[in-house]
Symmetry: C2
Subunit: 421 residues, 2 copies
Amino acid sequence: MSAPVIEKPSLRAGAFGNATGLSCRECGHQVELGPHYACPECFGPLEIAYDFPAVTREEIESGPRNIWRYKALLPVPADIETSPNTEPGFTRLLKAHNLGAELGIDNLWVKDDSTNPTNSFKDRVVACALSAAREFGSKVFACPSTGNLANAVAAAGARAGIKTVVFIPSNLEQPKQVNSAIFTESLVAVDGNYDDVNKLASEIAGEEDGWAFVNVNVRPYYAEGSKTLGYEIAEQLGWRLPDQIVIPVASGSQLTKVHKAFQELIKLGLVEDKPYRVFGAQAEGCSPVSVAYKAGVDAIRPVKPDTIAKSLAIGNPADGIYVLDICRETGGAVEDVTDDEVRDGIVLLARTEGIFTETAGGTTVAVLKKLVKTGQLDTSLETVVINTGHGLKTLDAVSGRVGPVATIAPTYAAFAATSLA
Amino acid sequence: MSAPVIEKPSLRAGAFGNATGLSCRECGHQVELGPHYACPECFGPLEIAYDFPAVTREEIESGPRNIWRYKALLPVPADIETSPNTEPGFTRLLKAHNLGAELGIDNLWVKDDSTNPTNSFKDRVVACALSAAREFGSKVFACPSTGNLANAVAAAGARAGIKTVVFIPSNLEQPKQVNSAIFTESLVAVDGNYDDVNKLASEIAGEEDGWAFVNVNVRPYYAEGSKTLGYEIAEQLGWRLPDQIVIPVASGSQLTKVHKAFQELIKLGLVEDKPYRVFGAQAEGCSPVSVAYKAGVDAIRPVKPDTIAKSLAIGNPADGIYVLDICRETGGAVEDVTDDEVRDGIVLLARTEGIFTETAGGTTVAVLKKLVKTGQLDTSLETVVINTGHGLKTLDAVSGRVGPVATIAPTYAAFAATSLA
C-alpha cells in the first residue's frame, strides 16, 4: 500500500461490515479503510469498495424498519442497530394518483423523505457518517451547513451522545439556527458566506485530531447512505426497478448513489436486470450540470448560485460529471426550472398528494412536469420522483402564494354568504 | 332501534369493517353506524362497538407498514389501504438511553409521532375520519383548528381528492396558515377566537348536508385512530405492554384510546395480561384534569387556557372524566408543569435523543421528569413517553432559548481561539 500521508487507525474487526477498502473513482488506486476522502495518487474522490456475500430478500425483509435492513450493503458493522442512532429511512413510497393524472403520467410514485427523523434525506447519510466516526474513535462529529445537514448532524450526535460542532453562516435566518441549536450546545456562527464556512471546515479537519466532518473527511462513508433510497424504492415496488426516476442534483452524489444501488441490486440478483432512465433536476439559478448536459459537453463550468432552492445551491458540484455520464448512458436527461416553477411545484405536490416539500422537492416536481411537456420523459412508463425534504424548513418560498380564501365573521350567516356553502 | 332524529345513510357491506354500531359511553344505548356523535337518549358521547374476529400477530405483521396493519381493529373497510390516504403511523419507538440516564429511569422509550406525514399524531385520527367520510359519501372534509389538525385534514383531503374546508382564527400566525393553505384552496379565516371557530363548525355541521367535520359529526370514527398508538407500542416492544406510559391530555381522547387499545390487545390474546400505569400530562396554564386529579374529585371545572402548549389548550376536555378514571384505576396520576418547564422539556428531549418536539411533547417530557422527582413514577419499571408533534410548528417557544455559542471570523485562528478547538 502506498498513501504515506495517511495515518492508519486501529479498527476493530468488522467495523465496516463488508467494505474492503477505499478505491479512487478516477484512477482505481486502492487505499485502506480510514478517514480519507482524496486519492493520494491523483486527488480523485475515494469511494467504498466491498466484497458482498450472498444477500437474500428474506434477510433484508426480516431486518429493522429503517436503513439498517440494508446493513450488509453499507460500510457499517453487523451490530449497527444496537448503537443509538436516529433510525432513519424506510419512508413512504406513495402512489401518486392525482399528480400522475395532472401530469398525464400513468404510473407515478413519490418517494417521500420529508418524514425522516429531521425531515430530510440527510438523516440517511449522516447515520452512515456517524457509524464511521464511532469506528474511527472520533471525539467530535461536525459539519458546515446552512440547513438540512446541520439539523441531521446535530440530532444524530445528540442521540449518539457524541459531541457535535455545527458551523453556519452568521446571517442565517433565526428559525434555521433554532432548528440546529435545539440539538447542540456548539452551534458556531461564522461571519462569511457558505463557501467561507466550508473552507474553514476543511481547515479544521486538517488541523484538529479526532474531528469527523461528515461531508469532508468521512465523506466516502457518508455518501453511501444515499444508496438506501435506491434499495428502498426497489423493495417497496416489490423488488423491482422503476423504468424512470427523477432525482434532484446538488453535489450530484444522491443521483450517482441511487444508480449505484440499482446496479448492486442487479448484481446481487435481488432484482431483475432491466433498463431504467435516470433524470437529474436542477434550479435554473444553479444549473451547471443541466447546462453541460444541454450543451453536450463533459466539462462542468462552476456557477455562483442564485436560486430559492438553497439546498441545491452548489455551484461546483463534485459529482456533476458522474451525473452527466449516468443520465446520458441510461437515456435520461438533466433539466432545470425557474424559481417560479419551483414554487408552483411545491404547491402542485401539496394540492395533489398532501405532501409539503421544500424548494428542492419543488424543483424536482417542476422538472418532472417540464420533462413531460418537452417529451423527454415517457409518460407510459413507471416513474418515481424523489422528495428529499420538508416545506416547513422553507416556508418563505410559498408564504406569499397561499392563504385564506375568505375572512368571515363567526356566524353561519357569514359562512352561508360565501361560495363554500 | 330508537334514535328517530337520526337519518340512516345507505352503507356498503363492510364499510366499517368489524364495527357493529355506535354505543353510548354513558347509558349504553345502541345506535346504528352513521355520522352521529351524541346519544339520542342522554346526549352522552357515542363510541364504536365491534365484534372482533380472531386476529393473530402474524396477520398484523404481514400488513402494511402503517396504521392499516391494524385495520381489523378499526372502523374501516378491509380494502382501506387501496384508497389514497397519507399512510400514517408505524412511527419510531426509540430506546431513550440518554434521557433515561438523565432522569434516572432504567428502561425508557419515546414513541415519536413527529415523523408522521404532517408531523403529528393527528394524521392517524384523520385517516380514520377520512375513511368514514368516504363511506358516508360526504362531499366536504372539514375541521376547525389552529394547528396540527388543520394540517392533517388539508393534506389527507388533498391526497384523497375530496374537497376540504378548514376553519382557523383569523389572527393565527402566518406560518401556521401557510402550513394548511399549502394543501387546500379553502382555508377560511374566522374573525374570532378558537371557541368561536369551533361553534361555527358545529353550526355548519348541523345546517349543511354532506359535510364531514372530523372532530364533530364523524368524531367516533376519528377518535378510534388514536388506538393505533397503543397497538404500535405493544407490537414494537415485541408484543408486550409497558409498565408505565405518559400521555399528553388535551381533550383526553388519546389517553383513553391508548388504554382501550391495550385492553383490546389483552382480550384478543395478542399480549399477556399485566398491570400497567397510565399517566396524563398537562400544562399548568390549562390543567383542569390535573387539578381535579390532585383534588381527588370527579368533576372537571373548565378553565380559560393560558399556556404556550396551544395544542393541549382545551379548557373543557370532553374525555377528562375518563382520563381521571383510567389514571386512578391503573395506579397512575395526572400532573402538570409550567411553561418554563415545557420549554426545558423541549430542549431536554432534543439534547438527549435528537428529537425536536412541539410544546405538547415538551409538556409530556417535563411531566415525566416531575413524576420521577415527586416519586409518582417507578424508575425501575419499563416506561413509554409519547411525543405527539413536531417542534418546527412551535419554533417560537424555544427561539429565545437556544442559539450559537460563538460568532467567529472565517479563519482557523479565530476558531482556535474558542474553547471548542
